[in-house]
Amino acid sequence: MTTRILIKNGRLIDPANNVDRVTDVLIEGDRVSHIGPVSACDAYLIKAAGKIISPGLIDLHVHFREPGDEEEETIASGSAAAVAGGFTSVVCMPNTSPSIDEATAVEFVHRMGRQARKTFIYVMGAITRERKGQELAEIGLMSQAGAIGFTDDGSGVQDASIMLKAMKYVSMFDRVICQHCQYNSLAGKGVMNAGYQSTVLGLPGIDPLAEEMMLWRDVQLVRKCNCKYHAQHLSTIGSVKIMREAKQMGLPVSCEVSPHHLLLTEDMCSDYDTNYKVNPPLRTKADIEALKQAVKEGVIDALATDHAPHLMSEKELEFLAAPFGIASLECALPLYIKALIEPGVIDWSNMLAMMTCRPAAVIGVDKGRLGVGDRADVTIIDPEAEWTIDANKFISKSRNCPYHGWKVKGKVLNTIVAGEIRYTAAS
């Protein structure tokens, strides 16, 4: 017998289908079978009055550290954290140890994801072998194994000719090529934004130009080969400008922004608190404003956490020595609400679009919608619930979260993946 779930009286926001109304959603098996008033029927009932029913949230950028750094996160722990954050699909980055740079590694991540049976796991493969930026990885075989895109995330592909080759080659498989935009030669040994704060703290800085110059270069390469290109975690005013112009030229480019680049500034590093050490680094208020403006204009396509778990023992090192990264998967939704909805930058429908159908389009998967016949990936959100972020209660293995103690609004109540309730918030 197929299982049925009835979500009753919720505000269904399905940006892909331009829907925003109070209704019922009936799920049978792994599909949505009916939308509209449903009278009592034999189904598991979720009362959703006052709640938002959203297509399952998609996060284009997570680090689950497996294989290699399972003490920080595993695909199982990361997947459980993902559904707690409302994410029904996540995209794992390939900068593991060893890197995800060949087909069996892609298959391994998929398999661990299936075993975890929480969120749906997508994989991006490395563009170059061992992410060294020198030789192309087996992009075709990884594509056949299910990799939905390619990136050397953690670092950018430094050599322009290799990046051009990669773009041309990837386009043969109709996959998106993604870039962590950063020229190492300009970033140097930087550990935070280059500016007043880095001068005061005496820490080497990463100039915004390190990001902007690579983004600009890549846009020129896209002009040449017209491949599908996605810029990861943009952080600066200049990057916004370059991306806006590239889109105006009609190039097939997209980009994402992370919660920390919408909420935190370089000033927060002033106590040498390594929970604020992240790459690209936290910038300035002006950068945040530019990114928000870009979100408002639609220049930014996706909200992506860049969930980067690390052990406390690693983060308790000198700022210079501690690793980059912020763990935020379980609190991402209320962070986006705080950054974008509370100050009135965009409305719910636009925000959920950036967490559902628009990221789905970036990686070219048939997801992020909630119409009859669609796969039943659903996130149910209480937009009014107020709570305090407590990193010690994270399901994720890591606690490196600068938002610990923040009072936020908006909570994930249920996460349904392929018709199965995979997460229910403790009430």
Binding site: V200, G202, L317
Partner: protein, 326 residues
Amino acid sequence: MDTTFQWRHKHLIGLAELSRQELEFILDTAKGFEEFSARSVKKAPTLRGKVVVNMFFEDSTRTRNSFTLAANRLSADVIEFTKTSSSVNKGETLIDTARNLEAMGVDIVVIRHSAGGAPKLLSRSINACVVNAGDGYHEHPTQALLDAYTIRQVRGSLDGLTVGIVGDIAHSRVARSNIYVLTKLGAKVIVVGPPTLMPGKIEQLGVRVSHNLDEVIEELDVINMLRIQFERLGGNMFPSVREYSHFFGLTVERVKRARPNILVMHPGPINRGVEIESEVADGPNSVILQQVSNGVAVRMAVLFLVNQAAALQGENKTGKSENQTN
């Protein structure tokens, strides 16, 4: 000296967070210790039974010896801990090392470290007092205090003086700490060096930036020549040593064009013939060795004050609330 003033900081991490009154209080306290050092028996019982550890993760002779001497003169027991390896992320972490020392009953940790922020990290993690003896290119508070002390000793006050700090400002903790103390005590500061050695937005610290030593030399009452730290400079910060010396070296000829009573300072160790000519370093305007002598008095004052603040907080703890400082 304000006798009602109460020093509250059990750590000395940097001068950025100290007020003019606090800075003057340290210098006044040091004055007392300077007079004490002139005695034939140079030992006070102030820190008797206390343990000071010199945790030096970077090479140093001057600062380290100065701290050791200061602690000895206050009758403290001193442990010398050296680990020149800069592989801070391998092996025992800084916090673990410090906690182990603390478990042996250390009261004051004097730390020199190549990573900016290491003393701050330590102060959050252990109960002992933490004194920064130089961290990366963040701060070197006792050096700047002894610089200010030396200027005050010769000139009586810093108010209205113009001080030039010349050299690699970008990678200098001495420059940063000097900027804080000098500007707070009423001096004008001009930082001089090539743009490649000038940190971003430094003017926001209230200093003037110049790339031309000859243009500003006549305005200066004090000139502090920073050491060119070859070991820290990667890549092409300037084309050659001789080109650097040509534009930024303190030569006899340049001193001749300066005010006759200009004070010539240098935090040491000197690269003779690079940033400063020997005749200038050893000449009548130089107070370089006076700086070194004053270092002991200033460090005695710092050790004395942080220990006093810690004792006070210990008393307060038994009372109502913990007095959070630094």
